[in-house]
């Protein structure tokens, strides 16, 4: 197991390298003058020259990359010229709300989606399966930003049960309960689509596993159908579902951009959208890099969980 962790960690390094190269290239391959793109049309030539030098844009590309990575490793993500503060500070303040939102949504989607997927597989072609399948179809076809608005209209405005946004400061008083009340609608919105995908994949994985020879063996042993499904089939299906949950992490981290915008949630997604609007390229770069790294680490985690569940992985 220890060896496996080391091997997987070693595999993560080139991935992180690749991710950093892509993010680096995004800023450097901007058509035209990056400094002008960063500073906007009204910048004076002097400031542009200044920023060009500051960003090291007058040096060769590989050197620029190394300097950039060196700075990153020292916690220097550059400075936002719009917000007039270090990028790292802004990201630091917004990372937790995004992770909280995405994490809650992912847990919600798994807790609801996986059992529904099993139900649909075990009751294949029965009414329960048809209803679940229809719900999945609607779920994966629903734009989350639209669903968010409907929830605001219904639960926030018409029923007035829950706040519809205005969560400006995560820790600005109100305490955990207030955070939870603000979290319900956005997390549910985000979980709906991710959950629908999980139902579909869980159903597929279960159907696949239920056709395996060892399920027939389990039945031939005289085990009850419940035991066959839970102990023999589901346990094997989980091995396939765990990495899917990892992939869904990428989906909720991305989808958080819409949901944060609709619900005015103070996370990285909303920061990115406004940063793109203000051409605050360094902020975009930092935000994308941090979230992508989080995603890589989540996938590392699900890889390891999968290895714990499947003895064959450690062996190979």
């Amino acid at each position: 197991m220890g060896g496996l962790i080391l091997r997987r960690l070693a595999q993560v390094v080139p991935v992180l390298f690749g991710v950093s190269v892509v993010v680096f290239l995004v800023i450097n391959l901007i058509p035209g003058d990056p400094a002008r793109a960063i500073l906007g049309t009204f910048a004076t030539p002097a400031t542009i020259a200044d920023v060009t030098h500051q960003l090291g844009l007058d040096r060769p590309l590989p050197v620029q990359y190394l300097v950039w990575v060196d700075n990153l490793l020292h916690g220097d993500f550059g400075r936002s010229y719009i917000l007039h503060k270090p990028v790292i500070d802004e990201i630091g303040a917004r990372l937790f709300p995004t992770l909280l939102l995405a994490g809650t949504a992912l847990v919600l989607a798994s807790v609801v989606g996986v059992p529904l997927g099993i139900l649909a597989a075990v009751r294949q072609d029965a009414a329960a399966d048809r209803i679940v399948t229809l719900a999945v179809l609607v779920g994966i076809s629903t734009p989350s930003f639209w669903l968010g608005m409907l929830l605001i209209l219904w639960f926030g405005v018409r029923l007035a049960w829950l706040p519809v946004g205005g969560m400006t400061e995560m820790f600005g008083g109100g305490g955990p309960l207030d955070i939870a009340r603000h979290l319900v609608l956005p997390a549910a919105t985000l979980a709906a689509v991710a959950g629908a995908v999980l139902v579909r994949l869980t159903r597929g994985a279960m159907l696949e596993v239920l056709r395996q020879d060892y399920v027939r063996t389990a039945r031939a042993k005289g085990l009850s159908e419940r035991r066959v499904v839970v102990r023999h089939a589901f346990r094997n299906a989980v091995v396939g579902i765990v990495p899917v949950i990892g992939l869904q992490a990428g989906f909720v981290l991305g989808g958080a951009v819409y949901v944060e915008t609709v619900f005015q949630w103070p996370g990285i997604g909303r920061m990115l959208v406004s940063a793109i609007g203000t051409r605050d390229i360094l902020l975009v770069q930092g935000g994308v890099l941090v979230v992508a790294c989080a995603y890589v680490l989540i996938n590392l985690l699900t890889d390891l969980v999968q290895a714990v569940l499947d003895p064959r992985i450690v062996a190979s």
Binding site: V21, V22, M149, L153, G222, G254, I276, A292, P311
Partner: protein, 646 residues
Amino acid sequence: MSAPAASLTVTRSARRFALPPALTRLLHNRTATAGALLLAAVALVALLAPVLPLQPPDASHLALRLKPVLTPGHLLGTDQLGRDILSRLLWGTRLSLAVGVFAALMSSLLGSTIGLAAAYRGGLVDAALMRGIDTLMAFPYLLLALAIVAALGPGLFNAMMAIIVVNVPFFARGVRGAALSVVRADFMAAARLCGLSDLRIVFGELLPNVMPGIVIGVSTTVGWMILETAGLSFLGLGAQPPQADLGGMLGEGRNLLQVAPHVATIPGLVILLLAIAINLLGDGLRDALDPKLKAGGTARSRARTDAASGEERRRGLPAPLALARLPLALRGLRTEFRVGRSVYAAVGGVDIAVARGEAVGIVGESGSGKTVTALSVLGLVASPPGRIVGGEILHHGEDLAEVPLRRLQDVRGGRIACVFQDPGTSLNPLIPVGEQVAEVVRRHAGLGRRAAMARAVSLLDAVMIPEPAETARRYPHEMSGGQRQRVGIAMALADDPEIIIADEPTTALDVTTQAKVLRLLNDLRRERGSALLFISHDFGVIASLCDRVHVMYGGRVVESGPVAEVLRHPRHPYTRRLLACVPALGSRTGRVAPIPGLPPSTDALPTGCAFAPRCDRALPACTSGDIALRPVGPDRHARCIRADDE
């Protein structure tokens, strides 16, 4: 050079015939048809937008701002600038649809090119391309799109470019995977040998073979593309005012949510409809084109094989005889598989009896129905598509095809146990083998966890597994094939069954192990007084284990009798030919004489004798009507009109 050329022609013609069935399946798929109709309706209205009597989408009337739905002249009301929502909606749908379809096509084009190049070139090219693709996939999908839009600047075209780029890895990976299996196929090597140019091979051979996958990919991603582009427009990063796609309209309506909810909710509804239509169609296309799904391959197998009602199954059966009291008596068993519109009569009326302590063999080629016969006994034939349509499965007079599931489960692994063909797949890979054996003991002997485990270890010892206590904690993948099958035997012996059904238990093992495992199985079952129903394609093995044998062909028993008798004097031409395949037993010269031709497919069995087309002694009468299994001596039966000939 003629052989490779011939194989190329074969694949070509096979392809030409492959499309119509796919189209038929698509048309028969109701959900796909519903999706296609819905999509066609939306697309038609959107396409007709320029000629429909609509107000101009960008004409604002500040006096008519935010009119509600059903306002005269404005069916769906107006927005914050007094523009007609219906008109904007149709023009917006047009735009969203065009962008989604174009993005999916571009993305599949780029991705497929990368995937094909990687698969065809292999080596460094493959490694480099795939490393790049993996890196793109390490990003959360939407964030990469945002980064690209950030670099290029907001705008519908740039948003579309971003969506295209982030979907390329999906296609590249899928196409590479599909193409790799083709690249390794024989006819590709043949094509290279023929001296075809790379381009011709890629476009003439490779692309057509991966095309269904690409079509499925496009159809399942168009919906995504529309949603994602709409999303970027919603965020203000896509279509810029006054031009609006559906997402842009939603974005503009967001600020008016409480004042005029219809401005935002209506475009969202259209996106939803569009996405549902496309996803329905995409799922249908996938079902129609994916060969894995063709044969009902996704159907879950039920707890037991479906069976027709007792009345239906017993129709035409003779009155029960005394042998109905035996541990096992199959009477006129018929098991079918229904796949699409074909019906495979895998077992077409089989009578087999097993007495206490007796070893009975079933022998036949693959496809003869011997395995399905064996699996039918405990209702282990996957259902759907399998179904027991006729006959009885009597266990001491009790019909296992109709006993309650609970009762059947008591018999399974208790009175009747199974040893399966491939120990590599029939043991659960995630559970230590000791537990898998102990599970049977707990279920049937009602022992506690600890006592059951002790019993399991002693069973492992009985099947000659060294260090049984240690091995009990191992997983199947840590053991050899022979060891795994010993575990399978231990599982079957766990509750001292009355009958063990062994379905080719040694076929997956190497020859030296085969003999050992067989001897072990036979010794143990004799010690414990269990009867044996042994399925094999190997007459030699049957001869060494069994007292009586049933020879199956085309789903029916063609000859039966005591093994020694059948060996000495086979009465059915098929048995004779089968024995000729066994060098040591059939012929003194050691010459093997394979039977020409192939066994018939059970969905199109000929009238009369199924073996007649391959038989060197066939007469016209052989194919004119059904031929009965008739007595041809003491305890001997044969299904041949010439059984008495010498």
